[in-house]
Symmetry: C2
Subunit: 205 residues, 2 copies
Amino acid sequence: MTTTDETQAARPAGRPRSARAEKAIIDATLDLMGEGISLAELSIEAIAARAGVGKTTIYRRWSNKEDLVVDALAKLKSPLPEMGGRSVREDLIAYLEVVRRDACDARSRCVLNIAMNDAERHPRLVERIRQATIEPRRAVMSALLQRGIATGEIRADLDVPVAMATLVGTVMWYVRSVGLDGVDGLPHDIAERIVDQLLAGLASR
Amino acid sequence: MTTTDETQAARPAGRPRSARAEKAIIDATLDLMGEGISLAELSIEAIAARAGVGKTTIYRRWSNKEDLVVDALAKLKSPLPEMGGRSVREDLIAYLEVVRRDACDARSRCVLNIAMNDAERHPRLVERIRQATIEPRRAVMSALLQRGIATGEIRADLDVPVAMATLVGTVMWYVRSVGLDGVDGLPHDIAERIVDQLLAGLASR
DNA sequence: GCGTAGCGAAACTTTAGCGTATCGAAAACG
DNA sequence: CGTTTTCGATACGCTAAAGTTTCGCTACGC
């Protein structure tokens, strides 16, 4: 057909698509969702306006809203917490520090908002988010606690699911209650304080 | 002006407003919000249809959506947890059991959803919810932990704000993660297990 | 029983977003 | 340079929902 080698590049004729526009669209989508806009309220027109882009440019890439949101959330995937592995206590602190930072970040928060609020209305989308984002983190946390049990740092009869809810839930709830006033007013060592208090227990000796 | 005594009743002429319709409107509002409808998506038409009422009947009582929601949430105010007071451990369990039940109840959940998601868009409304619903519960929980410190059941150096986030956050997060699959599949003694594990601590002795 | 005001139903006007089409300009390629 | 495709902008027809108004009917007090 054409004179170009189709088996390799097959670069299409004409002006190439702007990577800059694509990034602006993704960013605008994440920004709007980070501002608390629900999936239902999110409008293509608002995204186009925010991105400084024509609606055509969006519809040329994504045929509907859900596809765009999936792609946008995929770009968001922050790396799994990096843990030194020296002690379970230190790894728990490092993990919760990442959770704390995510909980304070509007863009990361919107992932959880969607997962929790739109589960019934967009089951496939929510399931994709669960598999891609939530499950890997749960697995890391679970493995970490199991390792602690093996090394003796953690009590052998630990209820692991409850402990995972405790560690993450404490950070999330703390940020949402105390930290609502000023997100930056959080103590910088909150992750360490939480881990130490939970390891030691609330009761007196 | 009129012949009636205006200082007291000043009952207006004509057909009185139907208390039955008013209750139906409030109930429909709470039901819809309990189904996960956000404040922005909540439509007067949906409320009218659900309540079996004309839109006129709603607009005659509330001039806008926010006023209606405030009134509806005010009717929702569930009683503060009743605690026996025998031991701090038992009271904590009783308190968390109430939290667990609220976390599973759609109508109660919607209060928190609004408080967390619509804080920026409806600051006055959210503040009213905080003062009426959240703060009293935080005060009860704080007093309970202080009592535990006084009686020696709780360690004296407890970080009370962190501990409050731990107790409530664990229940909320547990319900949201484990309980998402089947709300009724929750262990019935989850409050007791959470309290005991937190009192004892996660570390081995 | 008359007047008044609330009742539910339905028609209306307005607004917002969707998805498509069209435009002149711009960017890559041969 | 000419072709091809994308760019941002704008306009269009369509649908859904909001909020307002109208209408015939109903319930209560005088």
